[in-house]
Amino acid sequence: MADSPEAIKKSIKLYTIIGLLLFVFTGITVAVATVPALDFGGHGFDAYDAVIGIAIASFKASLVALIFMHLNHEKKAIYWIFLGALAFGLILILLFAFGFLDPITFDGLLPDGVNQ
């Protein structure tokens, strides 16, 4: 942790820049979703928009976590806790994949009438 007054003054500048970056990227997310000229992929919402939207959100979230939450220079214990949570969080998020599995054969099956 930067504890000297000089270091803190320095990091205030960094926090301001990161805050502005977050503002800018929020604007970009909205623009990508609403301005036709920035519509990657097909017209309307589709997988491309989902990937771009989540990518920007993840980038913003990383900025918050790394800079505001000081994860860029933390002690080991915090990283272990954080990575553990992230791993379990991701596992939970990916649980929906079981919806595609046949519980007997474990083949990836789309249920009838879904997304066909």
């Binding site: 003054k9 017209h43 505001f68 915090i78």
Partner: protein, 575 residues
């Protein structure tokens, strides 16, 4: 008690304990929200209805995102100010942070409020209209089951005060009488005293409270008490009879040392049952003895003379809603209102018509495009000939013009692919949904006597501010500008109706779950940060480093709340 390692770091972890603690908590939060986002994905992928894509108004979400990011910056500034021993700076930044939290919740409140007042009704053909129900006035409007009641059955075990109040209010001054003699039981020890409470045909006072003798509430309260006492009495009789019969069985010498085996000794078992029945006989107060109110069902029956009763559909179900049909409205408290169905139709100022669910169902059944189009046209034909229906048909005609132009535009603008198919085609939302903004645009085009062109529609479409949290009925449905057609929807045409609450569909369920939980985090975080702000001065003077640590910990939580919103915003508002 001295809590160790709050300001200074522990040697083994290199951290103070508070920080470890908040990170452990945040870890559990990551998993909590991870699970909820997982359910979102699951619900979306397997939705059997058109997912409300980009259905929420973007502006309040966007403003809230900016607010949370700004507060995240200021909370870290507040911490830095403490580190630099600048109390005034801390107070300023922290106040701004809490102010942001307040604004966030106010906006959320506006958003939720708009949802709770926005009504949707789905026709039997899966076409959905959205809008605002007309407020009830002069006996019209609102969203009610209407029944011309001739009998109301109150369940003594479960009747619910507010429902009772509403029903008596609706009966008004119509004459109400008891349908049967009511005799109540009182128990003096084992002795049963029966008293007549009210006789069939007696007029019942609907206004008095449960202290007023002869009033409905008094009768219900007394009968309920009697009902409960009698049931308790009967339970006791049965229990002691059963005990006695088994004692008899045990006393029987054929049973060895009490090792009674019911399967082997069925005769004993039968005998015990018989004994119990004999024991009970004459002591159970059966329906006949228990007066006529309780024909074992514990009902109090009130006769009314064709009183028009209106009940919110949220309170129960109506068995038949066609006007003139014999019907029963059964409420959640098991009160039943029997009578003849009145006009339970819903008066709704329509601000969106959506055929996507119909189209989805038709595609599932592999219907041809012609057939699907025909089904949609049929819906408009069957709307009746009210002014509102005419207006909706006009909108639909204009919308068809617009979507033809839009399809051509997309084809020309983005060309065809190698197989001769257009690179871009209109979305289902554009094809099969008339949004409130389009309604306003079409109305204005018609008033101005203009042609439907892409530019004209764009020119007349309301902007983001005009509908901050949804269709702006105040601005576009007043005076001459009556953009949202008034439609009277017969109840029997409605498959499902709801406000945009969690009950509406899974989308709104998960929307309210995640944003609601997030909102609680905002409130909780603001409370903690507010505590540091308003009660931190003393600690600042005695141990500023400790306060700085506290603010850092609170700040970590606050950043996490911001971080969750960074995902919530695109996922719910933009996808």
């Amino acid at each position: 008690m001295e809590i160790p390692y709050i300001v200074n770091a522990r040697k083994d972890t290199g951290l103070n304990n508070s920080k470890i603690a908040i990170w452990l908590f945040l870890a559990s939060e990551v998993m909590l929200f991870g699970g909820l986002f997982s359910s979102y994905i699951f619900l979306r992928i397997f939705a059997d209805y058109p997912w409300p894509e980009r259905a929420l108004p973007v502006l309040p979400g966007l403003v809230n995102t900016f607010i949370l990011i700004a507060s995240s910056v200021t909370v870290v500034f507040a911490w830095a100010s403490l580190k630099l021993r600048n109390w005034k700076g801390f107070v300023g930044y922290m106040s701004f942070t809490i102010f942001c939290a307040l604004i966030f919740m106010v906006l959320k409140g506006f958003e939720y409020n708009a949802k709770f007042h926005h009504q949707a009704a789905q026709y039997n053909d899966w076409t959905t209209i959205e809008g605002h129900t007309h407020p009830e006035k002069d006996g019209h409007g609102g969203n009610f089951y209407v029944v011309n009641a001739n009998e109301i059955n109150f369940d003594l075990g479960s009747y619910h005060g507010p429902y009772l109040d509403e029903i008596t209010k609706r009966i008004g001054d119509t004459k109400a009488t008891a349908a049967k003699n009511v005799i109540i039981n009182e128990f003096d020890g084992d002795k049963l005293i029966q008293k007549p409470l009210v006789n069939a045909g007696d007029a019942i006072d609907l206004k008095g409270d449960d202290e007023t003798e002869g009033s409905l509430r008094y009768i219900l309260a007394a009968a309920k008490e009697s009902f409960i006492q009698t049931r308790m009495h009967n339970e006791q009789v049965r229990e002691s009879a059963t005990r006695q019969s088994w004692r008899n069985v045990r006393a029987n010498k054929s049973i060895d040392g009490g090792n009674f085996n019911a399967v082997q000794d069925l005769t004993q078992y039968d005998q015990a049952k018989k004994d119990a029945a004999n024991e009970e006989a004459g002591k159970i107060i059966d329906s006949g003895k228990f007066g006529t109110i309780v024909d074992n069902s514990g009902l109090f029956k009130l006769k009314v003379d064709n009183a028009e009763i209106k009940i919110s559909p949220d309170w129960g179900r109506m068995s038949a809603s066609k006007i003139g049909a014999d019907t029963a409205v059964s409420l959640l408290d098991r009160t039943a209102i029997l009578g003849v169905a009145g006009d339970s139709g819903m008066d709704i100022d329509v601000d969106a018509v959506d055929h996507r669910h119909l189209v989805m169902k038709a595609r599932d059944r592999k219907y041809s495009q012609e057939k699907i189009d025909g089904m949609i046209e049929d819906w408009y034909k069957n709307l009746g000939d009210s002014k509102g229906a005419e207006q909706i048909r006009e909108y639909w005609a204009m919308h068809k013009e617009w979507r033809t132009l839009w399809t051509t535009y997309l084809k020309d603008e983005y060309k065809l692919d190698d197989e001769g198919q257009p690179n871009r085609v209109p979305t289902d939302v554009e094809l099969y949904r008339i949004t409130w903004k389009q309604m306003v645009a079409y109305k204005k085009i018609k008033e101005a006597g203009e042609e439907v062109t892409l530019n004209n529609v764009k020119k007349h479409t309301p902007g983001m501010i005009d509908g901050f949290v949804g269709a702006n009925h105040g601005k576009f449905n007043h005076g001459d500008m009556h953009c949202f057609p008034l439609l009277h929807v017969a109840r029997e045409d409605i498959r499902f109706e709801s406000v945009f609450s969690p009950k509406m569909n899974n989308y709104y369920a998960i929307y309210f779950t995640i944003t609601g939980l997030h909102g609680l985090h905002v409130i909780g975080g603001a409370l903690v940060l507010g505590y540091y702000l308003f009660f931190g001065r003393k600690m600042y003077l005695s141990n500023p480093e400790w306060l700085a640590n506290r603010v850092e910990i609170g700040g970590l939580f606050w950043h996490f709340v911001d971080l969750v919103w960074i995902f919530v915003f695109p996922i719910f508002y933009l996808m």
